[in-house]
């Protein structure tokens, strides 16, 4: 049976970076979660869910996003959940951990000087915890394994 991967990314650069990660999912069934319905166009042929965006500026949508993500995880039952950030991806990893799924956090390449706030919190919920900058890697993590550029 094919492994199922749930790929979660918020908008803009997070989504663009997820699109550059897609070749890593070859041989898997991939289901995408984005924060804008129009991103469906980018993943023609794959299942796609749009959820409400969450950020420090969109805190009110947190319960709805959490509920939506929980529903998607329970329905899809992926073996692996991968995110390129930001806050919605962190929520997805926290829920995935509770459900015993394996998790990957890839911090955005935009975070050159320090990990994002969500990226720092992701440490507790990511089995593979990555930065895209060698100078941000530490012995206790995050690891640097390459970049999406």
């Amino acid at each position: 049976m094919k492994l199922k991967v749930l790929a979660v990314a918020s908008g803009g650069g997070h989504w663009t970076q997820m699109m550059r990660l897609v070749p890593a999912f070859s041989g898997c069934e991939v289901v995408f979660v984005g924060v804008k319905a129009m991103y469906r166009d980018d993943v023609a042929g794959a299942r796609f869910y749009a959820i409400p965006d969450v950020s420090r500026l969109h805190l009110a949508s947190l319960p709805r996003a959490l509920f939506a993500l929980a529903g998607i995880l329970l329905r899809e039952r992926p073996q692996v959940v991968v995110t390129t950030g930001s806050a919605p991806g962190l929520l997805a990893l926290r829920l995935a951990r509770l459900l015993g799924m394996r998790t990957v956090w890839i911090d955005s390449v935009a975070n050159v000087e320090e990990l994002s706030l969500s990226g720092r919190k992701a440490r507790r919920y990511a089995d593979l915890w990555l930065t895209q900058w060698p100078h941000l890697a530490k012995e206790q993590g995050p690891e640097y394994r390459g970049s999406l550029l």
Binding site: G12, Q17, D41, L149
Partner: protein, 160 residues
């Protein structure tokens, strides 16, 4: 000259849009189209749209002689993929344009790359536009590092 002005998907960027709007009023030969974000005030001197679907976004991008934007990775990666030059103004957290200073840090990293010109301030952005003085060349931020990362993630997925 065709200019595509885009502020990304998160937040409007009125400081940038107003500046280009004022410049366009003085520069009738410039043909500007703008993506300005949800709920932003509409510019007076060129057509705009709050959001663009990915296909339409890429089309405007590909047809532009210059893309004017914030220091967003969506913009930078798309420019590298499509080979368009960028003129960028970093969003500032002290003006409420973004929640962290990461655009200023990213601007430092991108500053000397071919195909990317960073303006510190609106006035500098406008004089660069007037002079046509942005850096040409193809943005090359790509490297073998992507192959490495794809391989690392693939390995992790199949390692259970």
């Amino acid at each position: 000259m065709k200019i595509f002005l885009t502020v990304g998907s998160m937040l409007p960027f009125p400081r940038l849009v107003r500046a280009v709007d004022a410049w366009a009023a003085q520069t009738p030969q410039a043909e500007v189209f703008a993506q300005i974000g949800d709920g932003a005030e509409t510019p007076q001197h060129f057509p705009s749209s709050p959001m663009l679907a990915p296909k339409s976004y890429r089309q405007h991008f590909a047809e532009a002689d210059l893309v004017v934007s914030h220091v967003g990775m969506g913009t930078v990666i798309t420019a590298a993929e499509l080979g368009r030059p960028l003129l960028l103004l970093p969003r500032r957290p002290d003006l409420g344009e973004v929640t962290s200073g990461h655009q200023l840090a990213t601007a430092q990293w991108l500053r000397d790359k071919p195909g990317i010109t960073i303006a510190e301030e609106v006035a500098q952005l406008l004089s660069l536009l007037d002079a046509g003085a942005w850096r040409s060349g193809r943005i090359d931020v790509a490297s073998h590092a992507r192959t490495d990362l794809l391989q690392a993630v693939r390995q992790f997925i199949h390692s259970s």
